[in-house]
Structure formats: structure tokens, C-alpha cells
């Protein structure tokens, strides 16, 4: 468990990072909090030629509200995001999700952007961000681009971010003023702080008449990527969601996910428990959105 040899660049600017990535031909990797990458390096599961350290770049940290969205810079620590009044006020689902990410000690180091780049299909921040219709800002030497998370996750630990791009920020749209929203994040893992075996993130919004004006349900740990269950969402939209409507819509989940098998749970478990957690999350979110 000793890393293979690599070059190390302690970058001072974003320009320096994208230049290094561009030179790297896919052999250069960014390190932020290192909570996943360090063990991968030590186990030689990752053997990059060059590691670019972005921890000293001030422009990559911070949380701000900006034209209808909350922007979290990539290198913002998970603990900072969790403690942020902006996140608590505007992004309650993200706050609930981060509470399940590792432990206080790992959250002090782990970053919001790092979780999105690592893209473990069972991790919490990607799941919550997907449910919140977030998008990411990416930059390479060629320029910047915005990518919705719906188009971002390609497979386990695989994303649409190119090897020469840095993830700069994640952007969470704010709901309309005065909308009644409710959120919930439910996951099951054998131990506190582990990656979820299965997780469900729910985000609902009600109009003044109590009809559902937005419904988002995302399931993690039950497929190669976190999945929005759009079939279920469609069945909630416009309704006065109640227990029966949710129950009737739950079978949509099984159609939308293809869970894997491993020593921690067979696929049948993940399939059933996805539905159990989704129901709980939706009920809680709906209750939270009640007047």
C-alpha cells in the first residue's frame, strides 16, 4: 500500500491546473480532499503520472448566492458546506445528504466537488445534487462550460468531465419565492458513515393550492449511476400527493433501476429497499411541504 511514483504540482491558480491537465494526456489527476484518491493511490488503483493539488487555490472555495442559484465552489469542504447558513437555508436536502457523508473527520477534509468528480454511485452529494437539478461548471484551456448533472454521470466513477477539465463549481437553482418545499434524504448502510447500500433523495414543491408543482426522487446505490425516477415524478406532478398516490407510483422505481449484486447486498435487496426508502423520503418531504 505504497503509491507508485508520481509528479506532484502544488498549483496556485486555476490557469496552472488546466495547463497541467492539458499537458497530462489523461495521466494527470487532481487531488482536493483526498478522501477517496489517497487510498486509491496507496493501493495503486490509481497510478497517475502527475497529481495536481488544488487545496491552495482560494478561488476554488466558497459558497455564494447568485442570480437565482447557490454556487458551491469545488474545493469547499463538506464540513464547511454542512455548517453554512446559506446551505442550511436554501439547500436543506444537500445539508441532509452531507450529514450522511463519512464522519466529521473525513468531512473536514473531503470536498463537495471531490464527491462529484469521484462519482461513486452510492455517494450522497451526487445523489442530492441530482435531485436538486444542479449543474456543474467545468473548465479546460479551451474555456468553460456548464453541464446539467442529468448529463454528467456516465457510470461507476465515470463522468462526462473530460480529462483536461477541472470541475470549478456546482450550481443549485433556487425555487420560486414563497414556494412550499419539502425535502428528505434516507439511506441505509450497515454502519454509520459508510457509503449507502441504498439511498433515496426526495425534493417536492407545492403550489398554493397544495398541488405538486415539482417532484424529484433520486435513488443511489441501486444502479451504475444515481438515478432520477422520472416515471414516478410524473405520476406525482399536479396531484395532491398523499400516501396512496405515492404507493401507487412506487413500482416505477423497479423499472428505472438495475441494481448490482455484491457481498453487502443482493440486487433483490437493493430493489426492494429502494422502494422502501423512496416511500419514506417522499412521505417526509411531502409532510415538510405541508402548510
Amino acid at each position: 500500500m505504497k503509491a507508485a511514483k508520481f509528479d506532484y504540482i502544488p498549483a496556485e491558480s486555476i490557469d496552472e491546473v488546466v495547463a497541467a491537465l492539458d499537458r497530462g494526456n489523461g495521466e494527470t489527476i487532481i487531488i482536493a480532499g483526498g478522501q477517496s484518491l489517497m487510498p486509491m493511490l496507496a493501493m495503486r488503483l490509481a497510478t497517475p503520472a502527475t497529481v495536481v493539488d488544488i487545496n491552495n487555490i482560494a478561488q476554488l472555495s466558497g459558497i455564494e448566492v447568485n442570480e437565482g442559484e447557490v454556487v458551491i465552489k469545488a474545493c469547499t469542504r463538506q464540513a464547511t458546506a454542512l455548517a453554512s447558513p446559506l446551505v442550511q437555508a436554501h439547500l436543506p436536502l444537500l445539508a441532509k445528504a452531507i450529514g450522511h457523508v463519512g464522519h466529521q473527520q473525513t468531512r473536514n477534509r473531503g470536498t463537495v466537488g471531490g464527491s462529484l468528480c469521484h462519482a461513486d454511485p452510492a455517494s450522497e452529494i451526487p445523489l442530492a445534487a441530482l435531485a436538486m437539478d444542479a449543474h456543474v461548471g467545468l473548465r479546460s484551456v479551451a474555456g468553460t462550460r456548464q453541464l446539467p448533472l442529468a448529463d454528467y454521470f456516465l457510470g461507476p466513477m465515470m463522468t462526462a468531465r473530460k480529462d483536461n477539465e477541472i470541475l470549478l463549481s456546482v450550481h443549485f437553482p433556487l425555487g420560486p419565492d414563497g414556494a412550499r418545499t419539502g425535502t428528505a434524504f434516507h439511506e441505509v448502510s450497515e454502519r454509520h458513515g459508510d457509503f449507502a447500500v441504498v439511498a433515496a433523495a426526495a425534493h417536492v414543491q407545492m403550489d398554493a393550492n397544495g398541488h405538486c408543482s415539482k417532484a424529484a426522487l433520486a435513488i443511489g446505490g441501486a444502479d451504475a449511476v444515481p438515478r432520477r425516477i422520472t416515471g414516478l415524478e410524473a405520476r406525482l406532478l399536479g396531484t395532491m400527493i398523499d400516501r396512496n398516490i405515492i404507493a401507487a407510483a412506487l413500482p416505477e422505481i423497479a423499472n428505472a433501476i438495475t441494481p448490482g449484486d455484491d457481498q453487502h447486498a443482493p440486487s433483490a435487496y437493493r430493489r426492494r429497499v429502494a422502494s422502501v426508502l423512496a416511500e419514506r423520503a417522499l412521505l417526509e418531504a411531502v409532510a415538510g411541504a405541508a402548510p
Partner: protein, 804 residues
């Protein structure tokens, strides 16, 4: 014998240090960051080793090309099993299995995924791992045997073809009239229980550093070791005389509870350091440790048949235990034999048939783990008691009360020959129930159930044999006539009168230094904080069997008491001679010896020490100068061979515990939450309360891990799936409730201060207790589970799919 009469013996004395809440002396160096582990030993020019694991569970090694690895800058040697087998003997196994050859590196064939195939020595561990990637091994993968029941029946697919079978041991024992007891019983049932492959997981993996000294021809070894016969095994494997090897036992060992065997690792560094004429260090990383080091514990299937009366009194047991020892058995089969010492648990079961089978499979070899087979056995016994209660529709608690050995029956001889030294089981159980507020707990469970939750209370009453004894080897191999199981120490009083105690082993967190100093202080009436404790190396140490078997309180305690008595005797003899009084007239108080009838006639400790070292003319005639004593203590009650019915006293002392956890299960996910836990614990006299409490609660957490989470898993091809902490799930503080504990003291009549073993107890009962709680929670649905670990997906499947 009752507690009252025992109190008149050892334990009722007015104790100054024993049983007092005093600091644990080892804590100081760990808190201050000055512990000294193998990794901390710095020798000039040390080289570093790394091992190449086999990717296959079973494969023929066709060729190994290490040319490129050996040519890498900074690499000093690449060694393969073939080369090593030419220079070394196979490592001796516990049982005599001459056709099973165990070498530190695979020879011709790999027998489990993760088995070490080659080792590289380089300037540092990074280069060593770079070189591993350059070694080309040509394997011919073969079908493995993974399932132990298949392994038992298999005639073609053999882990060790030369052995001719996968069966390493198959023995039958019969104690008492099993046939008659079954015939006379009202009822009977059968039950299959399975104990999963798990372990103790030390925070420090195994490490060893060796230096061959060409001048003295001594091989110095520093190792993270806890193993009897380690140096002997090392010497015979390397082919050196025993006195050419010096094991330094003053290193701290970062956790063990059985698994720190380290023989193949130490053979490797010993061999390499002599070859290279430089110190060589091997520190396992976690992946290597969990896959190919000494990590895996018992993996056992029990088929039990119990005969009982309609009021729930268990008369007889037929037990078949099939244990999966993995590829190389080491001492694994003996973990089926030690439980014979308490084969009926704390119950008045009249007769037992015991069939014990150890089989080899293509998995990592099994090593001793906390309790040496007792935890699985206790689990099986407790599950059987619960099954009897369920079968008869009786309360589990009441069934236990009807079966527990009564307190006036001690010493109590069980069918397999052990005499239980002392116990007060009903009272300890009641203390546990009181601590748990059992009536309120029942209400809590029932109201949770009324709200639709799955809630359960566990009950387990278990024994912890302590003290050790090798005689279980003889039960499996009658040529192993080993009846000695000793521990020793030396105590030196220096010219200043200060005391140094020297013990003969390493210590791996059990607080032996505190134990030793406390007992010396008690016996010599000197503050233990003023006593120095050191660890002899293997060339200077007195005989020891290492700190296994919950034995050090009993055995090092006994040795310390004996040595202290000799020190006192010597002081008294010097005083008697100089005060011109008979010894009977003298009394010893805190080192000063005075005439009972004339307190002004006295000799101070300083004066006695001066005489011992400096004033030969004041020494009694014939007494050697100096002031030290040695004592070698044999295990109480040990020393006999079994009788014709294979009955024998194995361990001398029997601690007892009652566990009462409360759990709730999420029916949607199968997740178990342990919400409360009460334990009542009786290990006789507690030498140091903090140490015992730490062992009990730590052991209990360990047991919760074995019950719910921890499993070394393999797939059908024998690929190892649990090589890191992402997949081998140890509970953390989040999974362990705030444990309530209470001590009870039924002193042992066999030990210096009434003490018994306490290092294993929490672990020996918690798995049974948690399983009992889970099954209690499932009982309203008519479901039960008997396989550990009870992972949440298994519980969820049972709830949602039903049994089978």
C-alpha cells in the same frame, strides 16, 4: 464451596492495591506518544520487504520470472518459495500432518487467494512494491474447494493432494450416557447454527524486523508477536539452534487477541537478513494482513441435537462441529478442542457426544482468535437453549434458571472432565436483569411491538475458561504428551531497595505491566507505582507460554505472588539473623521487619537491601549475596493426562457473564440497531477495575461485530472479497450502545487473589446475546435466524421472502 468460605481465603484480605481503581501504567507511554512498536525500531541500513500475493485461490505455479524485478535500482533480493524450500524446513503444524507442507511462500501451487508467492527486499517499501509489479508469474488456475461440507466429502479436489483428503482432523468424544439420556428424555430437537469467518482485527498489522549479527551469530528479531513456541518454531524452520535467536519482547504490540502469530513473516525476515547481512523489515499493510496474513478466525457449522425434559431441563447434547480451517491449519484444529473445557456451558447437562471435524479449503488459513473456539461454541449452546425454550413455549430466562449450575454445587465437574472452580450464576444473572431493568425492558419491547416495530431482548449466560493448558492437544493427538503450561517471572530488589519485575513475554494491550506491579505491590506492601516492570528477551526470559488463554491474571499473577513470597522469605531470613529472633516472632510491614513483641527491634528495607548487597558478614551463613527471586508457576489443576474416557481438566478457572441487549430491527431494510446493553460479569477478584472494564466492553463490541457485521467473504471461485475496511465491517462507536456493566466477585479458590480470566468474556457472550435478541424480535413473525453474521440483507430477505 460458597463465596463466604472463599472470602476467608485469598480474596477477603484487606487489599491495598489489588481491586483498587488505580491508573493503568501502560497508558502513560501511549498517551505521551512514546510507545515502541516494531515500526519504531530504527537500525542502520534496514531494508524493506514486500510480498506478492496470489490472484488465484488455487493454481499451479508454472514459472516465476523475477529478472526485471531483481534488476530494478534499489532492489536487493527477490525470493520465491522454491528457493526458500531448499534452505528451510516447513513450518511445524499443530497436529502431525506430515504430508501438509507449509512454507512462508507458496511452493509449486497456491492454495488461497492472497497466498504469498514471492518477496522483494528493497531500499524502501515503495521500490519493493514497484518491483512486485515486475515479477512475472505464470499460473495454471485450478478449480478450488471453497465450501467446507464439500471439502469434507471431496476425494478428488484436494487442497493438499499428498495428504489424500481435505480432512485435517476428525474425532469423536463421548462423555456420559448420551444414549440413555436421550432415551429417557421427554423431547428433543435438532438445530443447525453457523458461525461466520471473522476475527479480531488489531489496529497494528503484523510486523517483524530481523538482524543477523555475523559477529555473535545471533538472529535478533523484533516482532509484533503473541504466540507460544514462536522462537522454537522460528528456530526449527530456519534450522538454527534455539539459542541463536533472540526475540526482543520489549516492543509494544498494537493489539492481538490471538492473531499475532507471525511465524511465516518472521521466518522470511530472519532468512533474508542473514542472506543479505542487513536488517530486513516486513510490515504488513492492511490488504496483505487481511488476505494473506494471520487474520481469519473460526468458520464453523454446528449440528446440535438436544434432549430435554418437558419443563426445559436439558439432559444431553449431541454436537457435530465442522470447522473450515482454510488452506494451512497451523493451530486451527485445536480451536475445536479447547471448548471441551466448557462443552456444557454453565448448565447441568448430564452427557455429551461431540464430533469435531476440521477441514482444509482454499481460503486463508485460520489462526487463533479470542477464546480459541469458545465464542462459536458458546453461541451454539445459547442458541440451543433458546431453541429449547421456543420449542416448549417456555420463557428463555426461566429455562436458563432451570439449567444453571447451582452455587452450592462447586467445584462442579462437567461430563468432559473439567471441574468448574466456582460460580454464582443465578445471582449474576439476576444482577444483569436488575441492571437492564428487565421488567421495564419487557414493557419497552412490547410497546415497540404494539407500534408495529420489531423489537427484541437477548439473553445469554456464558462461560469464559481462563488459565490455559496444553492438554487439549493430547485429546486430538495422544503423542503430544504436553502437560506443562507455566508462566514465570523474576523479581529483583536493587541496592536502593527499588523493585524490578521481569516478565517473559510481550504484551498486546492487556495491561500486564499494571497487573504484575499491582500484585507485587500488594504482596510486598509497596506502592506499585514505584515498581519497574521490564520484558526479558527470549534468551534471558524464564519459561513462558505467552499471554494466551485469558491466563495472565491467573498465571503471571501466580508467578508474581510466588516470587514476592520468596523475596519476603529472604528478607525475613536476613532480619531473623541480624535481629537474633526466630522468623515466627517477626512481622513484615511495608518492607520493614520488626519483632512482634518489641517494635524497637527492627530492620528497615534499606538496611535489609544493604546487607543483601554489601554486608556479607551480616548475611545468614550459606546465603548467596544479592536480592532476587524467580518463580515458575504451573497452571493450577493442570498436569494430568486424560482418563480412559477422555475426561480431563483443561482450563482451571471459569468466569461467567450474563448479557442482556435490546435491539430493534427496521423491517423495511433489515437493519439491526443495538439500543441498549447490560452485562453482569464475574471474573472473581478484579485486579484492576479499569482494565477489566475495558476488556469486557471492548470484547462486547467485538462480539457485536461478529454477530452483525464482520465477515471475511469469498465468492465461488475463492476470490477474497473483504480485504479492506470498506468491505470488512467493524462496528464503530456509532454501532455500540452505551453499555451498562456490573461486576460480581466469586473468587477462584485456585488462584493467588481469587482472580479468573477476563480478556475474552465480552466477546464470548455478545454474539449469542445479539443473535438471541434478533431472534426474539423476529419471533412474532414466526421467523428465526441461526447464521452469523446476521447482515441486514439476510434479515430483510427473511422478513420479506420468508424462510428458505
Amino acid at each position: 464451596m460458597t463465596a463466604a468460605t472463599l472470602d476467608a481465603g485469598g480474596a477477603g484480605r484487606n487489599l491495598h492495591y489489588v481491586a483498587q481503581k488505580r491508573r493503568v501504567r501502560e497508558d502513560r507511554r501511549f498517551v505521551a506518544g512514546t510507545g515502541k512498536f516494531v515500526q519504531d525500531i530504527a537500525l542502520p541500513d534496514t531494508k524493506h520487504a514486500a510480498v506478492l500475493p496470489s490472484p488465484y485461490s488455487r493454481a499451479r505455479i508454472l514459472s516465476i520470472d523475477s529478472t526485471a524485478a531483481a534488476a530494478l535500482d534499489g532492489v536487493h533480493m527477490v525470493l520465491t518459495g522454491q528457493q526458500m524450500a531448499e534452505d528451510c524446513n516447513p513450518i511445524r503444524l499443530g497436529l502431525k500432518l506430515p504430508d501438509i507442507k507449509w512454507y512462508p511462500l507458496a511452493v509449486d501451487m497456491t492454495r488461497y487467494a492472497g497466498e504469498w508467492v514471492a518477496i522483494v527486499v528493497a531500499d524502501n517499501a515503495y521500490i519493493a512494491e514497484d518491483a512486485l509489479e515486475l515479477i512475472q508469474v505464470d499460473y495454471e488456475p485450478l478449480a478450488p474447494v471453497i465450501d467446507p461440507e464439500q471439502a469434507f466429502d471431496e476425494t478428488d479436489l484436494l487442497v493438499h493432494p499428498d495428504h489424500g483428503s481435505n480432512v485435517l482432523y476428525h474425532g469423536n468424544f463421548l462423555w456420559g450416557d448420551v444414549v440413555g439420556d436421550f432415551a429417557a428424555a421427554d423431547d428433543s430437537l435438532t438445530l443447525r447454527t453457523r458461525w461466520g469467518r471473522s476475527s479480531t482485527v488489531p489496529i497494528e498489522t503484523f510486523g517483524a524486523l530481523a538482524r543477523w549479527d555475523e559477529g555473535t551469530e545471533i538472529l535478533d528479531i523484533w516482532a509484533s508477536i503473541q504466540m507460544p513456541n514462536f522462537v522454537e518454531l522460528l528456530a526449527t524452520t530456519l534450522g538454527y539452534p534455539l539459542n541463536n535467536i533472540r526475540l526482543h519482547q520489549d516492543v509494544d504490540v498494537g493489539g492481538s487477541y490471538g492473531v499475532k502469530r507471525g511465524i511465516k513473516q518472521s521466518v522470511l525476515v530472519g532468512y533474508l537478513s542473514r542472506k543479505l547481512k542487513r536488517p530486513v523489515r516486513l510490515i504488513e499493510d492492511r490488504l496483505v494482513n487481511m488476505a494473506g496474513g494471520d487474520a481469519h478466525g473460526p468458520d464453523r457449522i454446528f449440528d446440535t441435537e438436544a434432549a430435554f425434559s418437558r419443563d426445559g431441563v436439558i439432559k444431553s447434547l449431541k454436537i457435530r462441529a465442522l470447522d473450515d480451517a482454510g488452506a494451512y491449519p497451523g493451530r486451527a484444529p485445536f480451536q475445536l478442542a479447547k471448548p471441551i473445557s466448557a462443552i456444557v456451558g454453565p448448565y447441568t447437562i448430564n452427557s455429551v457426544k461431540y464430533e469435531a471435524i476440521s477441514v482444509a479449503t482454499n481460503k486463508t488459513g485460520q489462526v487463533p482468535v479470542r477464546g480459541f473456539g469458545q465464542a462459536p461454541t458458546n453461541y451454539m449452546i445459547e442458541m440451543t437453549v433458546d431453541a429449547v425454550a421456543r420449542h416448549l413455549g417456555l420463557d428463555r430466562l426461566e429455562v436458563r434458571r432451570r439449567n444453571l449450575i447451582p452455587s452450592d454445587a462447586f467445584p462442579y465437574q462437567i461430563p468432559s472432565g473439567s471441574s468448574y472452580d466456582s460460580g454464582d450464576y443465578q445471582v449474576v444473572l439476576q444482577k444483569g436483569l436488575d441492571l437492564a431493568r428487565y421488567d421495564e425492558l419487557l414493557q419497552r419491547r412490547d410497546s415497540a411491538r404494539a407500534e408495529g416495530r420489531l423489537a427484541g431482548i437477548g439473553i445469554a449466560t456464558c462461560l469464559e475458561p481462563g488459565g490455559g493448558n496444553n492438554i487439549f492437544e493430547y485429546l486430538m493427538d495422544p503423542t503430544a504428551e504436553i502437560t506443562t503450561f507455566m508462566e514465570a517471572c523474576e523479581v529483583k530488589v536493587d541496592p536502593q531497595g527499588k523493585i524490578t519485575g521481569m516478565m517473559g513475554t510481550t504484551t498486546s494491550g492487556q495491561g500486564h505491566e499494571t497487573l504484575f506491579a499491582t500484585i507485587l505491590g500488594e504482596e510486598l506492601q509497596i506502592d506499585p507505582d514505584e515498581i519497574r516492570i521490564v520484558h526479558a528477551d527470549s534468551l534471558t526470559a524464564l519459561p513462558t507460554r505467552s499471554p494466551v488463554a485469558s491466563r495472565m491474571a491467573i498465571m503471571l499473577g501466580g508467578a508474581a505472588t510466588g516470587a514476592a513470597a520468596k523475596i519476603k522469605d529472604r528478607a525475613m531470613a536476613i532480619a531473623a539473623f541480624n535481629l537474633e529472633r526466630p522468623v515466627e516472632d517477626l512481622e513484615y510491614a511495608g518492607g520493614t521487619i520488626s519483632d512482634r513483641n518489641d517494635a524497637s527491634r527492627k530492620l528497615t528495607w534499606a538496611e535489609i537491601c544493604f546487607i543483601a548487597y554489601r554486608a556479607y558478614h551480616k548475611l545468614p551463613p550459606g546465603m548467596e549475596p544479592g536480592f532476587h527471586a524467580q518463580h515458575v508457576f504451573q497452571v493450577p489443576g493442570g498436569g494430568q493426562l486424560p482418563d480412559a474416557q477422555n475426561r480431563v481438566q483443561i482450563y482451571p478457572c471459569f468466569s461467567f457473564q450474563a448479557h442482556i441487549p435490546y435491539v430493534e430491527i427496521d423491517p423495511g431494510t433489515g437493519k439491526v440497531s443495538v439500543l441498549d446493553y447490560a452485562i453482569a460479569h464475574d471474573c472473581g477478584t478484579v485486579i484492576n477495575p479499569d482494565i477489566v472494564r475495558g476488556m469486557v466492553i471492548g470484547g462486547l463490541a467485538h462480539g457485536i461485530g461478529a454477530a452483525l457485521y464482520e465477515q471475511f467473504a469469498y465468492d465461488e471461485e475463492g476470490q477474497f472479497l473483504s480485504a479492506s475496511f470498506a468491505d470488512y465491517l467493524m462496528p464503530s462507536v456509532h454501532e455500540i450502545p452505551d453499555v451498562k456493566d456490573v461486576e460480581h466477585c466469586t473468587p477462584s479458590p485456585l488462584t493467588s487473589h481469587g482472580q479468573k480470566g477476563s480478556g475474552e468474556g465480552g466477546y464470548l457472550g455478545a454474539p449469542a446475546a445479539i443473535a438471541s435478541a434478533v431472534n426474539d424480535a423476529l419471533q412474532p413473525m414466526g421467523l428465526s435466524l441461526s447464521e452469523l453474521p446476521m447482515r441486514m440483507h439476510k434479515i430483510e430477505a427473511l422478513i420479506n421472502d420468508g424462510p428458505g
